[in-house]
Point group: C2
Chain length 307, copies 2
């Protein structure tokens, strides 16, 4: 069986994989530099970064299964080709995302930045998180883990997904059609939405106006879900207390962009849920075992929905 | 029955209490300004801040039960008088302390301060908390709640208390005699020790040397438990990555103290677990119901142990 690793990080992933796949598996690599070897293009199974895989999709003549190394698979669902199984990364990023959400909510609500820069005693008490209502838009496997790990610190946890299906650890789930009801009175809005047409400008002026005064908005999904102009207006007008952006329409955001110096905006440079190579390889090996048994690896992406 | 509220915050506590105690209860107040009225000194039950209560302890002629409004009761256990029931505040501060510990560990390990001050893209990934070993010295009701609420983010949670008794949510509990074993390899050391002779300089040079390289030390208990000079030396030598101090030998710490400007030191001005008046009053009312039934209110302080 021919297996290709297509990733800027291909060598490292290969080191982790080698010796853990059968001896009948031929491994080939492409890290995006130069042209891929013929053996890469003949692969039946690809472990790959969506952008690189998309660049050679037309040439992958034997492809049957592609395991993405990213949570987001937009470059691949945007391709016309759909005659293969595309699986995403689920169950890896949730823990890291939960840390990220708590880190920034606590930074604000426990005055981490204020205390860090203090030069004299400042004993003003914080209210903490106990009275706050958390809402997670785009609640699937990652958001569900955020809810389960962080929910106990908040007064309530609300979720929103396409159809309003229930998610463990989430008291109220809303469907996309009820997005304004979902947002009403939230103190913390976390956007974890995939990049699809349906999520464009999800958090627009009308939605942001539903949030509680002084709310925190955290976008750690995809940039398209947030109307950045509306959010900045709400921030400068004092309706939001802070805006935490892990994702931006242009990445890396140029150093000359005024966002870097906008009070209340925190830019975390796409580090909210970093890829963990070892976890990705373990997930891929589970899938490979299933694939070779004739079963379907977990995490199938629906090309129509885009996630 | 005569009940006195002895606290800088007496009026506010009285407002919360009024109408929730029986009509046969006579309420008196002293906020520490001027001399207390006779009715305060004749109280059978006192809800009080330990420092103010200690100042009039000799004059409290009818005292049978004193409910502290603080977690720490050092000013009272330092008094010769022990012919009354002293109860502490338990089960209130744990949630706030858990937020505090996570806030500062995440601030460091998820680079909150670095990202907040960034002026250009910085996508270096963080390792997060998953590989870190957390140790809580002085694990009782507060530390136990810290362990239960935060433990799932860490690789392991260790505790230390006087006798090494087990605590729910804590994998390994050490007695005070094994403090160096407790400390060995910890990435995060949280000090929540009471102020007693036995805890003086608990975290000394020998203990700090047991910690993992780059450890974080958080003191949110009492200042006496940490050898500050040894901690600052470990910090400047790079053995510690940061030192988070909620409590100090002198509070408020004077603005001219060089600690305010020491790199890696974060001073949070005794805000880790702020007193929550409503929670204190609810706790006191539970105790009062028990007291009037002839039962013992929860939270008895052992004068010998000091907590």
């Amino acid at each position: 069986m021919k297996l290709a690793i297509v990733s800027p990080n291909a060598k490292r992933l290969g080191t982790l994989l080698r010796g853990r796949v059968g001896e009948d598996v031929l491994l080939a690599y492409w890290d995006g530099v130069g042209e891929p070897e013929a053996q890469v293009l003949e692969a039946e199974v690809v472990l790959g970064a969506p952008d690189l895989a998309a660049a050679v999709m037309d040439q992958l003549s034997a492809l049957r299964w592609l395991q993405s190394t990213w949570a987001g698979v937009t470059p691949l669902v945007g391709q016309p080709r759909r005659d293969y199984l595309l699986t995403g990364v689920k169950g890896i990023f949730g823990r890291s995302m939960a840390e990220y959400v708590l880190a920034w909510v606590l930074a604000e609500k426990r005055s981490v930045l204020r205390h860090s820069s203090a030069t004299s005693w400042d004993g003003r008490p914080d209210k903490g998180l106990a009275g706050l209502h958390l809402g997670i838009a785009g609640i699937g496997s990652i958001g569900g883990e955020v809810a389960q790990r962080c929910g106990g610190f908040f007064a309530s946890v609300r979720g929103l997904n396409g159809d309003g299906r229930t998610v463990p650890g989430v008291e109220h789930c809303f469907g996309a059609a009820r997005r304004l009801d979902f947002a009403r009175g939230l103190d913390v809005l976390v956007l974890l939405l995939p990049d699809t047409e349906a999520t464009n400008q999800f958090a627009d002026k009308a939605l942001l106006e539903q949030l509680a005064p002084g709310a925190i908005v955290i976008n750690a999904g995809r940039a398209n879900a947030l109307d950045l102009d509306a959010a900045l207006e709400a921030l400068s007008g004092g309706r939001l207390s802070s805006l935490v952006l892990d994702v931006l329409a242009e990445e890396p955001l140029p150093a000359e962009d005024p966002l870097w110096r906008t009070t209340g905006v925190h830019i975390t440079s796409h580090t909210a849920a970093p890829t963990n190579d070892e976890a990705i390889v373990a997930l891929f090996l589970n899938g490979l075992t299933r694939y070779r048994r004739g079963e379907e690896p977990a995490g199938r992406i629906d090309f129509d929905r885009g996630y």
